[in-house]
Symmetry: C2
Subunit: 229 residues, 2 copies
């Protein structure tokens, strides 16, 4: 029998935000993969290890996935990672791939899933808490209620973004200068959480307070409701 | 000392998708509130009870919150629920309010939080898995990757919705006829999950397959990526 690849969201940082299912799957399976050059340098691994310490005794697969926009380098790293995973699947062993936040939202898992399914194996997804949900909880605010719309952007704030509803900008750190200018022009207020639930967590409650540059895990919320409070 | 109100997301239906934190808070606290006329008739309570059976021995507060758009009836029910919660908080007891999915996304918790904070008490939010993340996992598909945008609408598909990215329509059941017409006109494909992770779960993989009406917990995903697969 072939093994199954599980993409498992470990949530945004706080190990207690892991699901019962993620913890059970880690306990029940032997091969644990994650993005990173080593377990210590993988945020997803470190979160899981705090919730399930016995993970350290498993077969650990550190999959080097460089953060680059170069499609060729990216493709090659995904190919190599998928090959390493398939080697276990073909021997009948399940592989868990741990990923930050939720597995369906801006995760590298999709690239691995595509390749592993093409090679004839089954992949399953296990949800995790998305970073924007945790950031809203940390700020003590609802994102949306009633008839509000929720718009989520991966990095900057695009021109012509819908004026209605709540806007979340993930990985806003390197685009903050421009985003702050755009928000000032439209007269909107926003909040920023850097490293939500991780070491070095910082909260900024207004556009004025925010720096023009922040870390990679910076999440910005433009929330009409929060302003009204 | 005053008690604290915790808004706790219990996820979309599968009790294993509850977080470690939600389970711990239920075990550690005595007063558990939830929307519904009785524990048996509350989806949020039933999910929590499957994961933490000892909840049945706690002080249970069934808060009747009618599903209506009448602002006066809604406001009165939120006032009454908040009053019942504040009675415990003022005696120094914490209250957990269980809510389906995530607490910051289309939850009634925000209305209670507002009132409870106005009365001088503290409220905290504890994230849960949002239904759209679980629906994507159930369908085995990513929602967004790379530079995709994610747009979430509470009920129907508004005219002039952004053409780019992935669109999620929550509670699509009663609007399905119109949504199907809109999707056919724009030539887009979509998938529907009814009662994700609950009894009576149904999956529709195309606009053609879908009925014109489905249950309250119906979630539709218009995903350019999924089409390409």
């Amino acid at each position: 029998m072939k093994g199954i690849l599980y993409g498992v969201g470990v949530g945004p940082g706080d190990p207690e935000l892991m699901t019962l299912k993620a913890c059970r799957l880690i306990r029940e399976n032997e091969v644990i993969a994650f993005p990173g050059q080593s377990p210590e340098r993988s945020a997803a691994y470190r979160i899981a290890a705090e919730a399930v310490p016995e993970i350290a005794d498993k077969t650990l697969l550190a999959l080097d996935m460089p953060m680059t926009m170069d499609r060729k380098i990216l493709g090659a790293s995904h190919d190599k990672a998928a090959d390493r995973i398939c080697a276990f699947l073909s021997r009948g062993e399940n592989v868990l791939f741990l990923t930050l936040g939720d597995v369906s939202i801006y995760s590298t898992f999709g690239y691995l899933q595509e390749r592993v399914e093409r090679a004839g194996f089954e992949a399953r997804l296990v949800s995790g808490i998305p970073s924007f949900a945790a950031a809203a909880a940390r700020l003590g605010t609802s994102l949306v209620s009633g008839r509000d719309q929720l718009h989520i952007y991966p990095a900057g704030l695009p021109e012509g973004a819908p004026a209605e509803g709540t806007v979340v900008i993930m990985k806003a750190g390197s685009h903050l200068g421009q985003i702050r200018r755009q928000l000032r022009e439209s007269g909107k207020e926003a909040m920023l959480v850097e490293n939500c639930g991780m070491a070095g967590e910082k909260i900024y409650n207004s556009v004025e307070e925010m720096p023009d540059k922040a870390g990679y895990f910076s999440l910005l919320i433009v929330n009409d409701e929060a302003e009204g409070k």
